[in-house]
Subunit: 333 residues, 2 copies
Amino acid sequence: MGEFDFIADCLAPLAGPQGLGLLDDAALYTPAAGRDLVLTKDTMVEGVHFPSGHWGADTAEKLLRVNLSDLAAKGATPRGYLLSLSLPEGFDMKWGKAFALGLKAMQDEFGFSLWGGDTTSTPGPLTVSATLIGSVPSGRMVTRSGAKPGDSVFVSGSVGDAVLGLDVALNRKISAASGEALWAWENAYYRPQPRLDLRHLLRAHASAALDVSDGLIADAGHLAKASGNGLSINVDDVPLRAATRLWLAAQVDRKAALSRLLTGGDDYEILFTASDENTVVAAAKDAGVSVTVIGKVTDGQGVTCTGRDGTVWTFDRPGYRHFRTIAPRQPRP
Amino acid sequence: MGEFDFIADCLAPLAGPQGLGLLDDAALYTPAAGRDLVLTKDTMVEGVHFPSGHWGADTAEKLLRVNLSDLAAKGATPRGYLLSLSLPEGFDMKWGKAFALGLKAMQDEFGFSLWGGDTTSTPGPLTVSATLIGSVPSGRMVTRSGAKPGDSVFVSGSVGDAVLGLDVALNRKISAASGEALWAWENAYYRPQPRLDLRHLLRAHASAALDVSDGLIADAGHLAKASGNGLSINVDDVPLRAATRLWLAAQVDRKAALSRLLTGGDDYEILFTASDENTVVAAAKDAGVSVTVIGKVTDGQGVTCTGRDGTVWTFDRPGYRHFRTIAPRQPRP
C-alpha cells in the first residue's frame, strides 16, 4: 500500500466535511458566530515520546489525547484536526491501518473529525504531529495567567500514574503491584483521559488552568509565572490512586518516591485555580470528574511545597525534560 | 541553549497576539465575521524534502513558502501558523537561530505571525512541520473540483525551475547554465514564490485551482479527477524561464528533458481553470504575476498532453513520488 492508497483507504474515511475528502490542498472551516478558536499542536517522536516500535493504535490515541488535553485545559470543545505522519523505512502499512483505527476510536469518543494533513517518509523514527482546532464561546478561553491571590488550587483525577506506567511500558522492575495496578498505570501512560468533561466548569469558574504534561510541580510553576503570583501546594493533599498509594507505602524512601510522582509528568490532568471551592466541587461532581484542592494562590512567586507536617519540600528537577530520550523498548520477559 | 531558552529567545519574538507569548497551552484566534478559515499542514524531513545538513533559514523559508502556496491556491490570505520542530542530536542552536531568522523574513514579507507549536528532540533527522491558517470571504475558497468543460487551463510563472534547482542543490552535473541560471534554479527550489498576489483573481475568476507540488502533469490529473472532467494540455505552451529554454535546447533528448520539467514537481506555481481568458490575463497583469494559457477543460477524463505538432505525449511518471529520498548533500567541489 502506497501513500495515496493509505490516505484513500485508511484516512479519508475519517475526514469530516471540512476535510473535502482529503482531496484538496487545504481544509475549509466556517466558524460559528460568537466563538473563538483554540489551536494547539503537539508532535510525538518514536523513542522520545513513546517506546520504539510502538507504532499502532496506542500511539494514535496518545497523540490525540495529549492534544485534546490542551483543549480541555482551555475550556474548549474539539472540532477537528490536521495530522502529519512521517513513516520510517520498512513501515508496514498494517501499522498504518492500526494507527487509523486508534484515530477513529478517539474521534468517536470525543466527537471531532480529521480535516487534513500530510504523509511523508523519513529515514528516522516514526514522527507524528497533530494540530487540533477547538472552540469556546467568545472571550471564554481559560488562560494560564488569571490566578489571583486567595484562589484555591485544584487538580483533576490522580497524579503520578503515568510515570509508573512508563516503567510498565518499558518493562522496568516495579514493586508491590497487582495486575489491576499495572493495567491502570500503563493505561494512564498510553491513554490519558482528556478532561473535556470539565470544560464547562473551567469556562465558568477557573481563573487559570493548564494541563499537567511536564510534571505537577513544573506546571504549577508555569501557571504561577504566567499569573505573576505564587502557588502554595500541600504535597500530602495531591490525589493519588489507591494502587499508587500502596506502591508509595512500599517504597523505602517515601519522599523520593512521592517526589517522582509529583514531577514525572505525562499526567494530563487539569491544574486550575478558582475562587469558590464549594461551587467548583459541586460542579465537578455534576461533570463526573473528581477534583481535589491541593493549595492556594499567594502573593509571592514560584511554587512553595509543604507536607502536612509543615516540612518544606524542594525538588532537584520539578518536571520532565523535553529533550530526554526514552530507552528502546525491551522484549517482554 | 535549551528548549525553553530557544523558545523564549528565538521564537517568542515571532509570536502574534494570538500566540499569547508562546507561554500558554494553545493559541486563541477570533475569526472576523464573514470569513471562512482555510487550514493546511505540511511536514519536511531532512534528507527527503531538503538536503541533509541544510538546517538554516532556507529550510524555514521553504517550509512556510510551500504552506503559503497551498493557501494562495485556495485564494486565502495567511493569518498565522503553528510550528513543530524535532531537532536531531547535536543540533547546534546557532542553526535554530538561523531557522528563526528565516521564519521572520517570511512573516515580514507575507504578513502573518507565529501562534504556537512545540519543540522536541529526535534521534532521527531534522523534521519540521507547520500548520497555516488563512481566511477567505465566506464561500469564496477555490477548490480543486469546479473545473467545467470549455474552461481554459492557466499556470502562473514558469515551470521546471525547481527540478533543475534540485540538481544544483545536490551539486549534480548540469549543462549550459550561466551563473544567473544556476541562481534562478536553486532559488526556485529553496525559495518558491507563493502566489498570494493571485488570490483576488482566483477568488473572482477561478473555477478550480491547486498549487503544483507533485509535478505539473500529476497535479493536472488531480484537478481533473476532483472536477470529474478531463484536461487537455499543450506541452509546448507550458511557460519556461529563458534560462530553462536554453538548457532544454542543449539537451540531446528534448522530449525526455521537457518531460522531466513537466513532472519534476516543487514548482509551487498555481494551476487553475477559468472561463474568461481575457479577463484573467488582464487581472493577472494588474496583480503583477504572469499567467499563461496551457490548455482546456474537456468532457473526458484524465490529462491529455499534445505537442504543437499534434503528437500525443505520455509520461512514465507524471509526478513526484512522495516517498522518494533525496541523496545526502555532497560537499561542493
